[in-house]
């Protein structure tokens, strides 16, 4: 499958899950996964999902502006670099954000997130 198509499909799946059922993100991470969220470092699927489900908002909607991807090396990994907007329920203005994912292939033919770094982009 074309790498750009894989990246786009992953991004759609990730943010749709985030916006509808944040706990459902658990199967995209493994024990070795690392998230840096606004500078805070978290490791492992359980801890990452605990962080994401405890963010101080109930409802949100991500809208994606750009998706760039590149293969990361001989192990079949893929780097995905996203920018977009995050609208929180009840807030007048959307927040702008950038996020990078390093996806690694699973034996089942899917991908999991090994590295995840999220930053808000302040004006």
């Amino acid at each position: 499958m074309d790498p750009d198509a894989v990246a786009k499909a992953f991004v759609e799946h990730y943010y749709t899950t985030f916006d509808a059922n944040r706990a459902g993100l658990a199967n995209l991470y493994q024990e070795s996964s690392m998230l840096t969220f606004e500078g805070q470092k978290i490791q492992g699927s359980q801890n990452i999902v605990a962080k994401l489900t405890s963010l101080p908002f109930q409802q949100c909607q991500h809208s994606i502006t750009t998706v760039d991807c590149q293969p990361s090396g001989p192990a079949g990994g893929m780097l995905v670099f996203v920018s977009g907007n995050l609208q929180l329920a009840g807030e007048q203005h959307a927040l702008k954000f950038s996020q990078m994912f390093h996806l690694m292939p699973t034996p089942q033919g899917s991908f999991y997130v090994l590295n995840d770094i999220f930053r808000l982009n302040y004006a």
Partner: protein, 125 residues
């Protein structure tokens, strides 16, 4: 105390943008034939092509000011992911541009790092 990957990330970022702002043609020393750059959506591969692209950007002088640097180990072979956000001031322009950039650094046998992956995006307000 800062972890090793954070130290490497910070040192690399300082070096990269110092070269970019003062001696752009020397950036070629940080890339190898397998290196990939995606610059505002345009995909470029290899030292010469990347160097040409960066040297041909439509401004002579610029200054990067870095706001955030996040680093993580990328895999089990010593690679490092570095995620940067900051501002880019072009000479003669009133307002600076905001940008985000990610680097995937791979260790060299000489104990340094080269840029295997580089993705740059401006962040429009």
């Amino acid at each position: 105390m800062e972890e090793q990957v954070e130290l490497v990330g910070r040192a690399f970022v300082d070096h990269f943008y110092h070269l970019f702002d003062n001696d752009r043609s020397s950036l070629s020393s940080l890339y190898q034939p397998t290196s990939m750059l995606t610059f505002e959506g345009q995909k470029i591969q290899g030292v010469d092509e990347i160097s040409t692209k960066l040297n041909q950007l439509p401004f002579d002088q610029c200054q990067h000011v870095i706001s955030t640097i996040d680093s993580q180990p990328s895999s089990f072979t010593g690679g490092i992911m570095v995620f940067v956000s900051g501002s880019l001031q072009l000479a003669g322009e009133e307002h600076s541009l905001r940008f985000s950039q990610m680097f995937h650094l791979i260790p060299t046998p000489q104990g340094s790092y080269f840029v295997q992956n580089d993705i740059f995006r401006l962040n429009y307000g």
